[in-house]
Each structure stands twice: as structure tokens, then as C-alpha cells.
Symmetry: C2
Subunit: 793 residues, 2 copies
């Protein structure tokens, strides 16, 4: 990647503006400007297609299978992986000016601006282009992916002759199996499929064009269609044609100076794994007819109305830091984009903003993304957990393959099958099962959704509890042990009694027993009897939690604090992320933490630690954590805030929130870091808001870092919407929706009724001495030049 001279975006409260063409930062801008609704995602490429880094139009769940080849294979290792497919691309609107194709690399570009508008939900672009022959045009375009119509995208494109009469030829197309540029900036290039789609049908009909394709091995049928409306003062000559892998409309006209052609291009998508090609053909046509009926202005209006409602629920206001104000809205925007209409499909680690990690979903979704959505859009959490539930039979089968019982959910997947080709960091990371249970428990606690708890929720809890019961064992010491698992930290693997895993499994077991006793009829449906519940409770009660008495800290897993410490002093700053420079053989056997593990346990299972333990553990793990994963900073922010390192928490918040807007790790190219974006909300709300949810109880211990003057956020809980404001030494709590809610401020119970705010003074935090981070791995401060150079999730 060419070096970047400065950040590509300006700081504004509700927009992300790129005031200049930045071909040197094309890749990460494509990701940042990706439009999506969780069902359909389109990378922020230029209308004219070229140049591009990783053009991508994705449909959630639309994947191809690829064989995994092992040189030395073990039993139970998956034979194939699933890879997100770049489907039929409908973005292209190309023009030629007096026969010269508009291309930012040719001629001159006196003006070029793109604006992502977080309230209109559109990506606007305006540019003036002077062709090599000296002819000038002004182009304006606006693109959206509809939140309201999940298969619909649209673009409105205007080109105007500036000074002289010109001949304009405009081409709008659908392209299947488009060539990927394979730029060296994309380390994940090998993950992209070369020619993923088999042509089935192509149609042209007036201004409407359509392509139907099918994936080779996974056999999924996909259709895309486009409808065109053209306005022009001059007479237009229009031609449509199509072949197997493309369909297009070409229009040409002579424009006098000041005259313009406007094209509204409506796009419809549909795909299916099981319905017939006829059904998909009809669906896409109906989708497009709906879009046409709604029209461009109708789509714009619906988009804004949808977002008005979202921001009313979700907005976070930060006073004292405009950059983070923008960043948190950018984060919430992309969280919404990745999830809004995911409806029964996996939510990938990069949403639909890129094909990185092959489009796979990880535990990030339950632990980071759903943590936020449960507080803002619980209906999306319900659907996302419904997707996990829809894969339960696959997880049951996987458990049997792994000689376990219950359900073993995959480490990475699109359709539910395990896709990890490296089991020590994949299938062995069993905590994903407890993370799913945790998301179930949190959702039910926040909503009181008993119907869900008794069905989807209980199914997930029971089958994951069965996994732990079968996997663990009461040892000679009477404790219940989980041997040979991998925790969240990817610089350790195959450990005994990983504290995070054990505590999360403990919650899983105990809650499965509790719910089974609460809903006996539903438990009976699952074959749960009293003996099984007793077993879960006994295992939960006896769960081993290793503790190093000598150091007074919790080892991340048994023996961790006895391992040699990584030699940070001798590790050059450009040798991070360590995984790119050192073998796992070295990383696994040393004290070096890629990402919060024990620290995350202290957030999600804070009840299992004393305040003193938390303080000591934070100090200890700050010293060995390198944050080579973008999942880490927000977890560290939450605990840093809890134990009193408020300004350190602020630095970690900033690192997490700006992960993609500033692309600090230079790895946003193949997709955004959804967990880091979610983490920035978590750092604000759980960190500075001190919010913890325990079942139906919501508790706050607010405190602000020195850079903030005020922080306001909203959470939905038990049908109410609570607004929390922190500033001027006070916290205020007010209901924006709902009649009554009882919360805790610090240790005091606070009953909220009506719309009146209740105000409580902030409690001063202890100010322990600042902990030290490994050399070169302190938080990335925004006033310091970036030191870190390469990428990791």
C-alpha cells in the first residue's frame, strides 16, 4: 500500500467526507464507504468501476465451497470452507466524454468529493473531470442500499456538460464474475474466488436487464436485475444487450453547455439455496417492480425515516471530542448496516463491507456486536440468535464428529458448518458456545422475552450446557476442569482451565439448569431431567478457576503465569503483529497476549472477581498484552475504566473507535472491524457509563475521562428507552420511552418514572498508578505518529 500522507476524512458530526480523490487510500475507503443493510452489501467503489481495490457486491450467506487440503490431516477436520462470493455487480455507471472514458487516473480532476451521510443513509459523490482533450463534465451521484427493501439498491447519476457541447455515452451494467484487481495491498487476495458464478440466464426488456447465475459447488442460485430511468434535455439513443456474464444499457446524447443527463438505476437482488431458479427469477423481478413503484425519492424518504428512528434509539453524544463523536456514529452506522436485515443469515466479522476472513462469522458477533444490539435494537439480536438456532442441527452433528455431546458451534462459518482449517485456533476455541449462551442470557435479561427464552433460548442453553458437561471432568481435586481448549487470546492454544472459558461455561451450565427448572415442559421436550440439571449445577459449582497465590493474579489459563514472558524489549516495533513474524510454537508457550482474555472475563463475569483482583489483574495483563487483535482495545478500555485508569480507557476507546476511520493498522482494506466498532460503544457505555447488566438488573458506575465534558447515550431495557447523561460531576437518568424502570446508580437503587431525569453525583474513582504496556505497544495516542504498521483482526 502506498504511504498515506494524511487521513482521508474530515471530522464532522453526521458525515464522513472525503474531500479529495485519494487513490492511495482507495482500499480502506471502499470499506468505510460500503453500503449495506445486512442482507445486501456493496463496497464503496467508484461508479465507473475503475480504478478499484476490491470491488464487492455481497449477499449475506451467498457462498461457495472450497476444499481444504491438509498434508497431515486429523479426524474431524473440515473438508471444505465456505467463501463469501462477490456476486453480480450492479454498481457500474460509466461515461465517455467525446469518446474518452471518464477515469480519475486520466485527464484532470479539479474537484472530487464523496460524502457518507449518516442521516440520509446515502453515499454522495460530486466531481469535475477534465478529459485529456480538455472537455469538462460535472458528475453527481448518490447511492443507497435500502434498509426498508432488503433486496434493493439504487443510484442516481447526473452528468452535465460544463463549458462546451459534448457527446456523452453512458453505460449502465450488471457484471458477473468481474475480474478482481489483485492489488498487493490486499493480503487476503488468495481468499477471493476467481470465477465463482455459472451463468444460467440473461434477459433484457426495455430499460430492464437481468442476470441469473449459480455457484458451482454450493449450488446456490442468484439473480440480479436493474431498471433504468433516464432524463435528458437532448434526444437519447438507447441500446440494451446482454450475454452470459453481463447485461447493459447504453445511452448517448449531445449535451449543450449546462445541460445534464440523469439516470436513476434501481437494482434488485435475490438468491436462494433451495428455491427454484424460476422462483428466484420472479422474486427479483417483483423486488425491482416494488423499487420502481417506490421510486428514487420514495427510497430516499424511507431511508431517512428508518434512520431517524434508529438514531433516536441509538445515538451517542460526546462533548469535548469531535473526532470520537464522529467515530461513534460511524461505528453505530456500520453496526446497523451489518445487521439490520440479516434475517436468518450469519453476521460476518466484517459485515458486508469486504471479503476478508472469507466473509465468516465468529464469536465476535455474539460477544461484541450483539452486546450492543441488545441494548439498542433487541429485535436484531433475537434474529441473530435465531440464525444460530437454525444451525443447531449442524452444531449437534459437529459435536458428535468431535466426540462430544450437545452442540459444538463452529469457530468460523457462513452457513453453519465449521470452516476452520487450523483446529488449535478453531474447533478448540469452544468458548464460542458459551458466548452464544451469554448472548441468549443477556438478551432475555434485557427484554424479558419469555417466549424466546422457552424456545430458541432454552434450546441453545441446553445443548451448549451439554457440551460442557460432556467435555469437562471432575478432577482429583474435586474441581470441574476443562482441559485442552483455546480461549479468546489467539497467542495461546490448547490450555487447561482457561479462566474466560471456564467462567463463561459456568454461567452457561448454571443458567441452563435454572431455565430448565423454570420451564419444565420445554426442558422435557429437550429430554432434560433433574439428574441432568443436577449435573450441570454440580459442574458449575465446582468449576475450576486457577489463581496464582504467589503473584496474586489469575493466570489466563492453568500455568500461564509460570511461562516465560515474551521478550518485548528485544522485539522491534515493526515485528508486530507478532503472528506475522514469529511462529505459534514460540507465541503459545510464552506470556504474551494478543487480545483481552482474562480481562474480558473480568468484564463479562465481573461477579467472579473482587475489586482488588481486578486491579491487580489489569496491571498484570496490561504488561503482556500487545493488542495484535482489534478485539482487544475495547475490553481493555472497559476494565481500565472500572479500576480507575480513565485516561488509559479513553486511549483504548479511541484506538477501537478509530480502527477503521483512521485505519491505524492498515488492514481495513478487506473489510471493517465490526467488533472494534461495537467495542467503541461498549467502551463508552460499559467503560465510562460503567453499565453492567445482570439478568433484569441494569447498573451504572459512571465516570468520565479528562478529555470528555459530557457523554450521553441511550439503552433499551425491558421495553423502556433510558437516556443516560454524564457530565459536570453528575449522572442523569431519564426515560425517553416507557413508564417505569428501576436501575442502580453505583449501589443505590433508582426508580425512574415518567420523563423526568433523576440526577446523581458521580463517585470519585481510585486513581491507581498507571500500568505499563509492553515496549512499543502502548495505546495509539492520536497526537502521536502511528507506530504500528500491519494488520490483524
Amino acid at each position: 500500500m502506498p504511504p498515506r500522507t494524511s487521513d482521508p476524512f474530515t471530522v464532522e458530526p453526521w458525515c464522513v467526507r472525503q474531500p479529495r480523490p485519494r487513490l492511495d487510500a482507495m482500499a480502506e475507503i471502499e470499506a468505510a464507504f460500503a453500503l449495506s443493510n445486512g442482507c445486501l452489501g456493496i463496497r464503496g467503489t467508484f461508479d465507473e468501476g475503475d480504478p478499484a481495490d476490491m470491488p464487492g457486491t455481497y449477499l449475506a450467506g451467498l457462498h461457495e465451497l472450497r476444499s481444504i487440503v491438509y498434508t497431515e490431516t486429523g479426524c474431524g477436520e473440515p473438508e471444505a470452507t465456505q467463501t463469501l462470493v462477490h456476486t453480480i455487480d450492479g454498481t457500474h455507471v460509466r461515461i465517455a466524454v467525446d469518446g474518452q472514458p471518464l477515469d480519475l487516473r486520466a485527464g484532470e480532476v479539479p474537484h472530487h468529493e464523496r460524502v457518507l451521510d449518516l442521516r440520509s443513509g446515502t453515499l454522495r459523490r460530486s466531481l469535475r473531470w477534465r478529459s485529456p482533450a480538455g472537455r469538462e463534465v460535472d458528475v453527481h451521484s448518490e447511492r443507497l442500499v435500502s434498509f426498508v427493501h432488503r433486496g434493493v439498491a439504487a443510484v442516481r447519476y447526473t452528468v452535465r456538460a460544463v463549458h462546451e457541447p459534448i457527446s456523452i455515452a453512458l453505460t449502465s451494467s450488471l457484471v458477473a464474475n468481474g475480474v478482481q484487481p489483485h492489488l498487493p495491498s490486499r493480503p487476503s487476495a488468495g481468499d477471493l474466488l476467481e470465477h465463482p458464478l455459472e451463468p444460467q440466464e440473461h434477459h433484457v426488456d426495455g430499460g430492464r436487464i437481468a442476470l441469473l447465475h449459480r455457484t458451482h459447488r454450493s449450488g446456490l442460485c442468484v439473480a440480479a436485475a436493474a431498471d433504468h430511468r433516464l432524463e435528458s434535455p437532448a434526444e437519447l439513443e438507447v441500446h440494451v444487450d446482454a450475454d452470459e456474464d453481463w447485461a447493459r444499457l447504453t445511452a448517448t446524447a449531445e449535451l449543450a453547455p449546462g445541460e445534464e443527463i440523469t439516470l436513476v438505476k434501481l437494482l434488485g437482488y435475490a438468491w436462494s439455496a433451495d428455491r427454484s431458479i424460476t422462483a428466484v427469477r420472479d422474486e427479483v423481478s417483483a423486488t425491482l417492480t416494488t423499487a420502481r413503484h417506490t421510486g428514487w425519492n420514495g427510497l430516499l424518504d424511507a431511508q431517512r425515516a428508518y434512520l431517524d428512528e434508529f438514531w433516536a434509539d441509538a445515538d451517542v453524544e460526546i462533548e469535548g471530542d469531535d473526532e470520537l463523536q464522529q467515530a461513534i456514529r460511524f461505528a453505530l452506522w456500520h453496526l446497523l448496516q451489518a445487521t439490520a436485515r440479516s434475517e436468518g443469515r450469519a453476521i460476518a466479522g466484517k459485515g458486508l463491507s469486504g471479503a476478508g476472513y472469507q466473509g465468516h462469522a465468529f464469536w465476535d458477533t455474539e460477544t461484541f456486536v450483539l452486546q450492543v444490539l441488545t441494548a439498542l435494537r433487541p429485535a436484531i439480536t433475537r434474529q441473530a440468535l435465531g440464525w444460530r438456532h437454525s444451525t443447531l442441527d449442524k452444531a449437534r452433528k459437529r459435536a458428535l464428529e468431535l466426540d462430544m455431546r450437545g452442540a459444538a458451534f463452529p469457530w468460523r462459518t457462513i452457513a453453519g458448518e465449521e470452516c476452520s482449517g487450523y483446529w488449535p485456533a478453531g474447533s478448540a476455541a469452544l468458548h464460542v458456545n458459551a458466548d452464544i449462551a451469554d448472548a441468549v442470557i443477556r438478551y432475555v435479561g434485557a427484554t424479558g422475552d419469555v417466549e424466546f427464552a422457552r424456545t430458541t433460548g432454552l434450546d441453545l442453553l441446553v445443548e451448549t450446557a451439554r457440551l460442557w458437561a460432556a467435555f469437562g471432568l471432575h478432577g482429583r481435586d474435586g474441581r470441574f476442569h476443562l482441559h485442552g481448549v483455546t480461549g479468546p487470546d489467539e497467542y495461546s492454544a490448547l490450555c487447561d482451565d482457561n479462566v474466560y472459558t471456564n467462567l463463561m461455561a459456568q454461567q452457561n451450565l448454571l443458567c441452563a439448569a435454572q431455565w430448565s427448572r423454570e420451564y419444565p415442559a420445554d426442558a422435557e421436550r429437550l429430554g432434560v431431567d433433574a439428574d441432568e440439571c443436577d449435573g450441570w449445577e454440580a459442574a458449575g459449582a465446582a468449576m475450576a478457576v486457577p489463581y496464582d497465590e504467589e503473584l496474586g493474579v489469575h493466570p489466563q489459563a492453568a500455568g500461564f503465569t509460570d511461562l516465560p514472558r515474551w521478550d518485548f524489549a528485544s522485539t522491534p516495533p515493526d515485528h508486530y503483529p507478532l503472528q506475522a513474524h514469529f511462529p505459534y510454537l514460540q507465541l503459545y508457550r510464552k506470556q504474551v497476549v494478543k487480545q483481552a482474555d482474562l480481562v474480558l472475563a473480568m468484564h463479562l463475569r465481573g461477579d467472579a472477581f473482587t475489586a482488588e483482583q481486578k486491579a491487580r489483574n489489569v496491571a498484570y495483563y496490561e504488561g503482556v498484552t500487545v493488542r495484535d487483535s482489534s478485539l482487544s482495545a475495547s475490553c481493555q478500555a472497559v476494565l481500565a475504566a472500572e479500576v480507575g485508569h480513565l485516561d488509559l480507557a479513553y486511549d483504548y476507546l479511541a484506538e477501537s473507535a478509530l480502527a477503521d476511520l483512521r485505519d491505524a493498522e492498515h488492514d481495513s482494506a478487506d473489510g471493517l472491524h465490526l467488533a472494534a466498532l461495537a467495542g467503541s460503544w461498549i467502551a463508552l457505555v460499559a467503560g465510562f457509563g460503567g453499565m453492567r447488566q445482570d439478568g433484569a438488573e441494569l447498573r451504572f458506575r459512571p465516570a468520565l475521562p479528562s478529555r470528555f465534558t459530557r457523554l450521553t447515550f441511550r439503552v433499551r431495557h425491558r421495553g423502556a428507552r433510558l437516556r443516560v447523561g454524564i457530565g459536570d460531576g453528575e449522572a442523569s437518568y431519564a426515560l425517553e420511552e416507557g413508564d417505569a424502570l428501576t436501575i442502580r446508580h453505583e449501589d443505590e437503587e433508582v426508580a425512574l418514572t415518567g420523563r423526568d431525569a433523576v440526577v446523581r453525583p458521580l463517585v470519585p474513582r481510585p486513581r491507581p498508578p498507571a500500568p505499563e504496556q509492553p515496549e512499543h505497544r502502548g495505546p495509539l495516542r492520536r497526537d502521536a505518529p502511528p507506530e504500528r504498521t500491519t494488520g490483524a483482526r
Copy 2:
């Protein structure tokens, strides 16, 4: 594989006879009848080529490169593997009888016998074949791979008309890139290369034919040539021709009843990685001219003379068990075949008897094969360690790749580079380095070869000691720890303080320091100073050896005895080997041992254990060891004998010795189990002979199992050849070569001089209660029907 109705071989002291055609057992017979001299190896296929299971002509070191594709790769993982190449095949002598090709699947075979003669060193075959048209021929052939001329093989082939005059057409060929049958009996079929050789040249000249080829990626040049001598009472018409991938001689004659044609086919091979194609072309021609000069009878005589000398040195006589008498000679024969002329090339785990494990060499060579050769043919050990030494720079480079110091030798390789694609069972098995050091120490102790010790030996010891010093760390407990390594047992991985590894590393460190102080000038050449020696000694002295005080046994690695025990009772007998039915995720985290690990440590580092510990450890590990590896039984035999389970030791000996002759695991098809064959000698000599070598000291604690009446074996030590006889309650020690040698019988020092035997009474052993093995995994008793069904190394 079709079920076998009975063993294919008869029991004879000096032959392995296959009295009937056994197309149902073709694969393992090809391996058992493979002829080799350690440089050139030829599978025991039929002269006529078809049918065959895995035709193979191998040249030690001749390999091709193949890329390893990872879906999730880590730093330091090898990008390519090396695969042994089936090179130009010169075995084929085909005949047509009145136009009908001789094929055992057509017509009738009234008689068919093959005999591997362990004293002549040839494979003889005699058969009568009745063609579908009713014409009968007698065929006799004899094949050898010369121990004296390392690039030479030869076959003498006679065909006779029996009852009626017949027309014989005989074809003798060289074939490159021959098609592999890909029978389902070969699980390793995927390891075979389809078309490994690029044609370079082909020549015909009178009765001589030649092919020159080159491997694609590794760029190695190989040549094969054949010379023919024909004798016939009838006039012969001869034709020679060649193309890129074949060269052949065809001869035809009309034979009257009783008349015969005799063909002597001499084969020459040469290959090189760095010499020019001209050099290789000339070398093979010179080789063939030498063979022709020697002639068939000369080759036969030299072969017998070579073997007479070998058997004088190496023979083991067993009274009371004819089957094991044959088996141990078969084992010694194949050990000689795999190593005799290996000269600077790796000795593969399967020798040159098949392409299994891609022809890779493992630690098996140093620990099993060289243990035997050091006592029988120390010059071969010297050469084999010279091969390791020749790869020292690659091992140094590998150590740097793994962020270590010193040398890190590969887990599996042909040419010295690491070829394992699964690092937890490959690169993490660092014990291979200590195993090489152990072989060095044993060789020098047995020979007193100071010149080797100061050069090759010291280099290897110092660079491996550096690895341990850099890899390990003095922990908070003051002990020196090796974290995150994999020991010999492949059902555990990435453990801390594997006892075997730690004890072998301890010996490595201490001996490197000792030798460095003994040979200061040589140490200085390697940059070793007093500080470094002090460090090695301090690490060795403080080496952690975990011990479970509660159970009174050594855990195989830290925490092993705390792990849940494998549920043997619920594991069906057909679910072995476990690795084919259960994921490593389950195997690694439970107490289940594939192959001797702690038990092997008690053999090779017996000084580190008390007799009581050995007895308790044997009893404990018998209960969790499943012997899914053929490396295990012999180790268990040695320790079982030491602690008094003599009949159990006998059963394990038999299992090891018959691994290939009876093919108990049905996995000899793609090559013999060289370590098991070596292990059968070790079980006899270290087990029943109780032989232990400590530096220059040789000690015996002999004891016989009830099935043996007498055991006699020979070992070379310090230039002497000692014959040890055990039987009738006595042990006798006599020098067959050399003037004087002092040994120990039990704890008594015994000075031997001249040729007189010294006789000492056997000391009765304790008879502890018999230990129990896991269900279905007791030793395979020869009077019980085989229970185990599938394969592993």
C-alpha cells in the same frame, strides 16, 4: 484390501518363502520382498510388472517438491514438502507365449513360489504358467540389488518351453513415469506423484538402453541404463528402441520343448542434484560397464560374501521360537538394506521399501535404527550422523525461522528442510534434536571415535545444546523448563516439561558442556566459551522433571496425570487407531498414549529413575498406552523385561518383530516399519539381554521369557565383537573379535580376554503382578486371532 486367509510366508530360519501366488496380499509382499542397499531400492513386484500394487524404484534422496497449501497459515510453516520419487523402473521383463502375455490373472498357475534368501541376498522366483491357449512355460528369475556396487541391480530370467514348441517374445524395458495402479488398499495414494519426471535424453546402443530424466521443481537429474545378455539355443531376433519415457529390448525365438532362453539384465542408476547431465550420463554408463565386467555370477558372489560378513557380525539366534528366529533375521536384513549404502542421504522411516510417509526420515532413524547399527555396523551410524551433519546449515536456518538459536532439525525430511505441514506434531517435537545428540553420544561411547567426536559429533552436540539453552527458561521454582513441546507420544502435543524431552535435553546439554571442555580447540572453533558451558550445565542440572507425588508416578508431561483418562471401555475395538476415529482435540486432552514416551525415557535415560519408579511407571502407562504406533511395542518390551514382566515383554517383542512379516496392522503396503524392525532387536538385546550402554561401559542384566530356551546375539563395542548367550540359567560372554573388553554382568565387572567364554548365572527377576492394558489393546498374541484392523506408523 481383500481379507487375507492366512499368512503368505512359511517359517524358515534363513528364507522368507511365499509358496503360493497371493494376489490378495500383493501390497505387503511387495514391501517385504523389496530389495535395497540403502541407495537404490526396488519393490518386490513381479517381473512382468502387472498386476502390482505400488511399483517402486527409489533412489535415496531423489525427491520432488510439492507446495503445502494452508487455509490459515502461521509464520515459520514450511511452504513445500519433499516427496520420494518413483524413478525409472528397470524391473520389467515381460514375455508373450504364442502371443499371449504372461499374467498371473490369466490362464492357470500350477506352481508359483518366491523366496527371499537372506544369505544370498536375492529374491528368487519360480513359476509354471499355462496360457489360456494351454501352452506351458517354466519361468525362473533371480533379482538382486548389489550391496557392493551401490548403483547396480540385476536380474537373471529364464523361460523354458515345457511340453510343446512355443514362440516366445521377451521384452525388457526401462519405464519412466509409469502409471501407479491407485489401488484402494493404499491409503497413502495421495502421496504419490503422477508424472514426476521430465524426459531429457534416451539412448539405445546394441543391447544397452538408457533414459535420462529430470524432476520438475527440485531439478534433480537421474539416469538409468540397462545392459542385456541373452542365451538361447534357438536363433533370436532382437530389436531395441526407445522414446522419451521408455526404452526396450525385444527378443523373440521359437523354443522346442525343454529349451530355454536366459536373459541377464544389468541395471545401473545414477542421480545428482548438482552435477551436470553429462556427468550423470557418464556415471551410469561407467556403473553399467563395471556391472558387466563383474557379471551375474560375480555379482552373486560378492553379494554372498558381503552378507556372510554381515551375519557373522549381526546374527541373532533364538532357540524355542522358529517364527521369531526368522523374524529377527528378516528385521536385520531390512535394516541392512535400508542403510548399508545410504552414504550421505537420509534413512527414511520406511527405508526404500515403499513411498509411505512420502519417503521421509524421522527421529526413528537416530533412536531406533542407529541404536542397532551402532552395536552392529558402527560405520553406518557414522555415515548416517554425517548426513545429519551435512544438513546442519539448514537446521541453523530453521532455528532462526523458529526464533531459536543453534540448530533445529526437521521432524520429517528427505533433503534436510522441514516438511511437516502440521506443526503441533512436527516442528514442536523438538526432541528430535536431543535424539540426534543421543545417537552421537552412543556412537562415540561404543566406538571411542575421538576424531568424530571432535568434529561432526561436537558440532551436532553444541548446536542442539544451544537450541535447548535458548528455548528453555529457569522458572520461578528455580528449575529449567521446556514449555510447549511435543514428546514422542503423538496423542499429546504442546505440553510443558515432557519428561522424555527434558531428560534427553538434559543429557544433550551436559554432554555438550563436557565435550566442549574436553576438546577446547574444537569448541573454540564453534564459538563456545566457558560461560556458555556453564549455562548448559546450569540448565542441565536444574532440568525440571515433573513427578506426581500423590500417584507416585512420573506424568508424561506436566499435568498429564491430572487429565481425564480416555474412556477405553466405551471405545469399540474397530475404533483403533484412535487418530482415525477421534479428533486430536479429544486425544490431546486426555490420558491416552499412542506410543511409549515416558517408558522410552526410562530406557534411554534409565539412570534418572529408581527401580521402584520404573515398576510403578510401567504399571501406570501400560494402562493408558494403546500402541497405535509401531514404535511402541519394542519400548514397552524393554521396560517390561526390566521390571520383571518377561512374558509380556515377549509378547511385545513378537508384535514388533512380526509387524511386517505378518502385517498385523495391515499397513505394510506402502513400506516396512523400520523402527519396529529395529525395535525387535532392541527388545531382544536391551530387553532380554538387559544391555545398557553408558559411555564406554556396557552392562547386561539378562533374563529370558518362558518361550525361549536360548538367545544368542552379538554386539560390537570398542573394536571388539562380543557374543552373548543366554540360556540354561546362565549367561555366557565371549569375544569373537578383539583382545580384551570389560563389561558388567548385573553389577559385577567382567573382564573378557581371548576367545574363552565367561559364564555367569542369571539373577532371578522380581515377578510383579501383571499390569493391565486398555480394553482390546493388550499385546497381539500370536495364538489369538488378530483384532486390530487399520494402520499407523
